[in-house]
């Protein structure tokens, strides 16, 4: 899967949780939770949705590698078969 396709899916899922935040204005290198104003429940819902869409496990131990928008894309890119 192309990185741009991955990003589009990520955008879709983030939008579902934080429809009021424009992706163009966020800092892609900052904490995702701060940038999109999401709490731990929202974050878990995001992980659940991404895990279902990409059929990957996304263990909690890997959360530090998903903490920014760009890191998340890189993580997904690396783990999708």
């Amino acid at each position: 899967m192309k990185t741009s396709e991955i990003e589009n899916i990520l955008k879709e899922e983030v939008y579902r949780i934080a429809p009021d935040i424009e992706i163009t204005i966020i800092d892609r290198e900052s904490d995702l939770r701060e940038e999109f104003d999401i709490d731990s429940m929202d974050f878990l819902n995001l992980i659940t949705a991404l895990s279902n869409r990409f059929h990957i496990e996304m263990p909690e131990a890997d959360y530090p590698h998903m903490m920014t928008y760009n890191k998340m894309i890189a993580y997904l890119d690396e783990h999708i078969a």
Binding site: A18, P19, D20, R33, E34, D37, D39, S40, M41, L44, N45, I47, T48, S51, N52, E57, M58, P59, E60, A61
Partner: protein, 398 residues
Amino acid sequence: MSEFLMPSLGADMEAGTLVEWLVKPDEQVNRGDVIAVVETQKGAIEIEIFEDGVLEKYLVDIGKKVPVGTPLAKIKQAREAETLKPRPHIVPIEVTPEIAEIDEFDNVPEFAKPQKGRRFRITPAARQLAETSGLNLASFKKNASGPGGAITLFDVEAMIGRKPDTSIEIASAVGPVKMTGMRGAIAAAMSRSKRDIPHYYLAHTIDLSKAENFVIKSNEVRPPTDRLLLGALYLKAVARAVGKFPEFNGHFIDGLFQQSAAAHIGMAIKIRGGGLVAPAIHDAQSLELDVAMSALRDLASRVRAGRFRSSEISDATITISSLGDRGVESLYGIIYPPQVAIIGFGTPSMRPWVNGETVEARRVATITLAADHRVSDGHRGALFLNAIDIFLQEPETL
């Protein structure tokens, strides 16, 4: 034959707008079924019925705003002779006697109308809204539409130009901002709480390492759908603790405290764009931890979607407000009437913790209690907070 009434969904609700019927006439209804949707300041709320029978006839049309206690539909009971069992827990259906349907305002008997020089009458919600809007009550007198010349919420809404909708307005304008919609509901409930409830506050710092490690360990082997959050442990620990300290769990109405055997724990959930609601997770004391977690997830997603049930709003017997992992050290809550306590969970952080003779880095959080001094005292409050701490030290037993 019985009537299905517009329920009171919280102390600050005077009226609601019927927006949807989910059951047609002649259809079967069962206790607990959601049969209608009502729009209130808190959003669209699904209204449940508490008896079995057949919906015979609608009494109120869609789009109509009616006062609490107004019959919405006629219900033919399953067995007219059979006595209905009351719900096992508290259902605070408050009917405000001063309010009558708008159509009946012309029929107010002469003797009930106010006389010259007498104090004017005003409904509680109207007074609260007028107060939070900074309006002079006397200016409403000539516009009063309620029975006996009482000033109603409708009058105050009309005066401040508030539309009877639930859209959330974000206070972004410079200058005075009217408290409307959800902000108005929060303003009314919290003002009433601070006016009527003598709060006392206690704080306790607890070691959350065991609880956190338990969550990490459990989640190692779970797919995201089944993962736990600390919030589920808070919910269970509070539900267990109120079992030992029932004076923090129930409703204080008209000078009487009604203790609740069930722990219907209100969870304060923020709404994107502003405001919050605290619907209840019913019977949290008897839910398995995993079930409590799914209930919490389900509730949060329904709140985000703006759809929750009438019983979830009115039944909460105590509330938890948690700052989550992006907040500050502690939160002192305001009790949601008619409840008598609210527990605040601060953001957990790594702090030095003395364990025997050594200092260790531990995940620590401050928990607080705001409680109603009419019902309990600080001594019991302290033991109650300690009990929550003790339950969180044994997460595997929750």
